[in-house]
Amino acid sequence: MKKIEAVIKPFKLDEVKDALNEIGIQGITVSEVKGFGRQKGHTELYRGAEYVVDFLPKVKLEIIVGDALVPQVIETVEKSAKTGRIGDGKIFVTEVLEVVRIRTGERGEAAI
């Protein structure tokens, strides 16, 4: 099993979620994060003083899937999250050793 993490632009979340749904992904965990990267921040101006905002709002998705689904999930996120403009974000894949569904105690792929 793998964990696929995707850091995306916030307004793309609904689109990505819908796309993942369509390919049968039923579980996603989402969090609000701030990203620092090639995409430049901006400055805000308040009472004549400049604030530099380096960290931009992003949304991070975490999706645990069986190995077989990994390429499809990556492709789906890539397509649906892409605007082609800097700051679109990244996808990271890591290995998951075990999954447990708390409600039932199921383990492994059955628990996803």
């Binding site: 916030p10 307004f11 979340l13 989402v30 609000e32 709002p57 992003k58 949304v59």
Partner: protein, 414 residues
């Protein structure tokens, strides 16, 4: 009509109307005080409750309550209502703002777990019937009417103790009534889920927002000057002493709460209110320094009373309305009998025993009426949210929306 009469008459209408609007504004204060003191998931409910109680109060007090209390009905053509430029109408408006405090006070005690409509219903019963009857005895048609000897409490008291029961602006008639009516409701409802653990261990539930609580407290304190000063009920009856005593009592409340609690914001803001509640009854007869003490003692009662209520008696009174409005209101009634006396530099014309008697009478009446009404409501239609509703919060359970929709509907959307 000559110019002077016209001016006087207009002045009275303006005076009452300003008072009414200032106290109407206080209801926003009740709303925000509760909103800040409950958890986020019950903020919308606080707002809608106060507004709905206000609306229902207006209708029932217009149709039933005011006629009971003062024997005046408005079911006549508009032209007739315009007598004295409509003074009776603004007078009604002014007194409505007092009556409508009853459900607003109770609301804070039963917050976060009471059902919506039963709560509104109880409020309607109090404002339409229970409160106006008591009002009629102290301020209204039976307060001075020799032809109603049987129930003329003021007559008995002044007969025996020389002076009737003095409650200038409602420490007892309004605040203690509301606070003591709330007590049975709070007891019947029981504490919020998780408030007390096994063996009665106390798990305080954190409040959502001190800024909003403070906003509510400020709005109440500001409007309170209308509550007290306009209780003169005619422009030429205005008394600068009432304004100053209200100020001094509030300040006494702030200072005592500040010192007793190491500047605890919840106590300091509510201490101001405790001072104001305590002074209503005697605001027209005390010396400003008497008012300072009265308010200070009021805050001390609230601070100690709240802690005893929550930690020893294990009563989950969310805003502390029983010690705040109830007990401190009763203190206000009694204090008028102390600091109103000449001995303490007051104006005199007040009897300690009458004050005590009147204040206790209100306690008994409120407990009895509140007990009966909430008992019946609870047994028949039910008073408390289901466990699941309470966990989801009154906002979602009752109003199908929470206080910050953007946050819960969208994630991180810019």
């Amino acid at each position: 009509m000559d110019q002077i009469t016209s001016l006087k008459q207009s002045g009275d209408v303006l005076f009452m109307m300003l008072g009414a609007v200032m106290i109407f504004a206080m209801h926003a204060g009740f709303a925000f005080l509760e909103l800040g003191t409950v958890r986020k998931k019950n903020q919308v409910n606080a707002l809608v409750k106060i507004l709905s109680d206000w609306a229902v109060s207006t209708v029932v007090y217009f149709l039933v309550g005011f006629p009971i209390a003062y024997g005046i009905s408005f079911l006549r053509p508009a032209a007739e209502l315009m007598r004295l430029q409509g003074f009776d109408l603004v007078h009604f408006f002014f007194l409505l703002t007092f009556a409508a405090c009853i459900p607003a006070i109770i609301s804070g005690g039963i917050a976060e777990r009471a059902r919506f409509w039963p709560q509104v219903l109880a409020g309607g019963i109090f404002v339409g019937l229970a409160y106006p009857f008591f009002e009629s005895l102290i301020w209204g048609r039976f307060s001075a009417n020799e032809s109603h000897q049987a129930i003329c409490v003021q007559g008995w008291l002044s007969g025996i103790f020389g002076c009737g029961f003095h409650d200038y602006a409602g420490s007892v008639v309004v605040h203690s009534m509301g606070g003591w009516l709330a007590l049975p409701a709070i007891l019947i409802l029981g504490p919020r889920l998780g408030r007390y653990g096994a063996g009665g261990k106390s798990y305080p539930i954190p409040i959502s927002s001190i800024p909003f609580l403070s906003l509510g407290s400020w709005i109440l304190a500001i409007g309170w000057f209308g509550f007290n000063v306009m209780s003169a009920q005619s422009l030429t009856g205005i008394s600068g002493l009432v304004a100053l005593n209200s100020l001094m009592a509030m300040v006494g409340g702030i200072l005592v709460a500040l010192i007793m609690t190491k500047a605890d914001p919840g106590f300091v803001h509510n201490g101001a209110l405790a001072g104001l509640i305590a002074i209503c009854a005697g605001s027209d007869i005390m010396h400003p320094l008497g008012a300072l003490v009265t308010g200070g003692v009021g805050a001390a009662i609230f601070v100690k009373g709240f802690t005893i209520e929550q930690e020893i008696l294990k009563i989950d009174d969310v805003l502390g309305v029983w010690p705040l409005h109830g007990v401190t209101g009763t203190w206000g009634g009694i204090a008028a009998g102390i600091f109103g006396s000449r001995f303490f530099g007051g104006m005199g014309g007040v009897s300690f025993v009458s004050q005590l008697a009147g204040s206790l009478m209100a306690v008994v009446y409120a407990l009895a009426v509140g007990g009966i009404v909430y008992f019946i409501i609870n047994k028949t239609i039910g008073f408390r949210l289901s466990e699941e509703q309470e966990m989801r919060g009154a906002d979602l359970a009752i109003h199908s929306i929470d206080a910050y929709p953007e946050e819960s509907v969208h994630v991180g959307q810019v």
